[in-house]
Symmetry: C2
Subunit: 473 residues, 2 copies
């Protein structure tokens, strides 16, 4: 790997990247629009042919881009696209880019001002389903690698470049882990670049450093063999709906910390340096609450709202049910009750240990006379790249070059995603390169992408392939 | 009113009552069977003509019995029957008997061995829907008053006797209170005799002394404007399903006492004498649990199971719901949650004050960011006749005479019923005269009445009209 180029070389390269991008901007946007016209809605079986057409369209485009190897990979569900462009520097690091070509459902009557599958450019934005999530952010890698080659005069990228673009992310990626395991050899990489997240805002460029994991469970509680009369028996037998409520209440202590013994074991603490960086972000509680469609903040004592959603593990009740839920009243002791709880996890927490801790907690709390069952879904592990990781510095540097030298701040994602499967199976650090902003309206009507930001994404990708080989990791 | 007759007179009268009852037993049972053939199912609109036919059949039978005034009273729903037989002793106390002529639904395919509306006598039992609940127990008053007259040589009863037999009890008596209020003058009484309960068992004759009241409420809790993503927002905003659970947990303290401040204000304590009487009953926990279809006992510390269901107020979760309740998981913070809670009340507790206490408790516990609504249904007040009440002693005496001098013990009903409306509107003590036993299968397939017990009910009624005038209350 080469050393960092001197500043004159860097400046020249930055200009060259920008010039190449400007030159190809119109064709790039036309191509993206063509892809966005394919309604690759993975959650709707009727669109399965469109999801396949989307994969094939992308495969053809990647071939045209110059990737010497492009394959459509079948899964038990929708197809994924794999592409590979080896570097002629055989010592170059291997990088795997992740994205998805399927989109959320969208229909005009949901409140779209224009056809969601007929892209429209207005006021510097392209409106279409998938414009930012995730076709736009996958697509910036096509022009990105070309700009990288043009600006460096190379004929192959400075990294061994791989792309994996799945077709089921908006349906929960049910076959993704199996796909990654099946092709682990082909996918092997020194780093994974996920282009399926965003930035803080149009004016605050950021790099995401990790996602929370998630483990979820369903608890069934059984009391009487059938609903029984609360006059005749109430107050003398255990009520499974009451037990459900008591379990919910026992999930947290008075400081809103999760009260399950062992829950925090191994959880990576948030260090002062990162807390200081988070505190620098221009957080506005009222606008955050508007986005959350919520009317108050509440969370673990001692942490800010951003820290709570990005960097702290949680226990959340996703559903609760038991007894009579129809109109009016019914004086019964219910036969059963049900709880659905999910736990967001941070780096260092092991979903298997969380499961054991929850099982022990539950066993200790269910009273005699109530039978229970608990089942866990497949967990998603957390992923986090430390702020001082060399590859993360490269991503920040590439973003800064694209954003005219702006200071790049750091965020995290509170959610969980298939990136964790890549981390787990490939044993590679996961990094995030995305230019979408909260106003883009992911999963909502009138999804859009900011064209200026999209082209900065192209530039950042172009720079990243030059930067990463200088990082020793 | 006369003094208690001496023991020779009493013995003669007891024999006379029994002789009269034996003499008329066959005709009495034939008549009851005829009434039971009318499927007066109030909950099924298609049976409305049968409910009316049942009222008219009863009215005709009461006229034939000798009641000089018999009326069918219309309500906004099914008709009730009122009958009155004044005593020629104008200083006699006025007694109002309550029962109902409607029955629970029944169909052969529910597990009946014979047609539920074609009475069958087998092994000393009559099987039919309504045999014990409540046609049988209403009907024993027809032969009862005739036996009373025959044994005393009177031409009118020794009490001013009134009967009110409603037609909607199995549908929740929706128009009963309005009916009682409308006819309060005609219904005025010194005591109410409810013949719609039972005894401890075939071998342990008992008198019920009261029923619990009930107040119920529905609480709606609103958080985010819609279900929101638990990854993006969970752990930082209040979750209405979590709040619902915490409310449930806060209903009781560690001793399973209701923890709502003020809840027990005024509640009549269970005195040692009554506790001793309850403890004398041959209670078997495993058979009680089998009846409760439950697998453990749990209730207020310091009280037995019978005390808990008969004499202690409770808070019971009848229903809880919120968030995702379908198959699998869904990582949301739910927009709303719902609780249905009913409170059983004992003598001295005022439903209006309970409502205020619950409202205050709720207001103090719902966190900022959660909006709530609470609505209460129409409450039913508790009713309780003290063990030393003279009229209750008369009831016990009448039962003892019918049961060959057996010791009569006391029970209560954990449930709540329209008897409380009579107590409230008429300002009269409520007493219970019933001979049904738990094995009669109220509301279940193969409902029956024990014929020997039914005829003891006839005798007890006959004796009661002689006994009550001797009680000064
Ligand atoms: Zn996406
Ligand atoms: Zn009844």
């Amino acid at each position: 790997m080469s050393d960092t180029p001197d500043s004159a070389v860097q400046t020249a390269r930055t200009h060259a990247v920008r010039a190449y991008v400007e030159q190809h901007r119109a064709a790039f946007l036309d191509d993206l629009a063509a892809w966005l016209r394919i309604p690759s809605v993975s959650a709707q079986p009727g669109h399965a042919p469109d999801v396949r057409a989307s994969a094939e369209w992308l495969a053809a485009k990647l071939t045209e881009t110059g990737f010497p190897a492009v394959e459509v990979w079948e899964t038990a569900g929708a197809p994924a696209v794999f592409a590979e462009w080896p570097s002629d520097d055989e010592n170059a690091p291997t990088v795997l880019v992740y994205g998805h070509h399927d989109v959320q459902p969208a229909a005009r009557e949901d409140g779209w001002h224009t056809d969601p599958f007929e892209p429209v450019v207005r006021d510097g934005r392209m409106y279409a389903r998938g414009a930012s999530d995730d076709k736009g952010q996958v697509f910036f890698h096509t022009l990105g690698v070309r700009a990288h080659l043009a600006a460096t005069g190379r004929t192959t990228p400075a990294v061994h470049l791989k792309l994996l673009v799945e077709g089921e992310e908006e349906s929960g990626s049910p076959h993704f882990r199996a796909l990654v395991e099946q092709h682990a050899d082909r996918l092997a990489a020194d780093a994974v670049i996920v282009s399926d997240t965003g930035m803080w805002s149009e004016t605050t460029p950021t790099v995401c450093t990790g996602m929370r994991g998630v483990a979820d469970c369903e608890i069934e509680l059984y009391g009487p063999d059938q609903d029984i009369h609360s006059g005749s028996f109430g107050g003398a037998v255990p009520n499974p709906a009451t037990v459900a409520g008591r379990l919910v209440a026992a999930l947290h202590d008075e400081d809103e910390r999760v009260a399950i013994p062992g829950f925090y074991d191994g959880a990576a603490p948030l260090d002062d340096a990162e807390r200081a960086l988070i505190a620098e972000l221009p957080f506005d509680e009222s606008s955050w609450l508007a986005t959350a469609k919520s009317h108050g903040v509440l969370g673990e004592a001692g942490y800010s709202t951003l820290e709570r959603v990005w960097a702290r593990p949680t226990a959340e009740v996703n559903g609760i049910g038991g007894g009579y839920q129809g109109p009016g009243g019914k004086t019964i002791v219910p036969a059963s009750a049900q709880l659905k709880i999910s736990f967001r996890l941070v780096a260092g927490q092991d979903p298997d240990k969380i499961e054991l801790a929850v099982r022990d907690w539950l066993a200790a709390r269910v009273p005699a006379g109530i039978r229970y069952e608990i089942t866990f879904g497949a967990p998603t592990r957390p992923c986090l790249t430390p702020l001082d990781h060399p590859a993360l510095r490269s991503v920040a540097k590439a973003m800064s070059l694209a954003f005219d030298g702006a200071k790049i701040r750091f965020t995290r994602e509170g959610g969980s995603g298939p990136a964790a499967d890549l981390q787990d199976v490939l044993h590679a650090p996961v990094l995030f390169l995305g230019i979408s902003v909260p106003s883009d309206g992911w999963h909502a009507p009138n999804e859009k992408v900011e064209l200026d930001l999209l082209l900065k994404g192209v530039e950042a990708a172009a720079h990243l392939w030059s930067e990463l080989p200088t990082a020793r990791f």
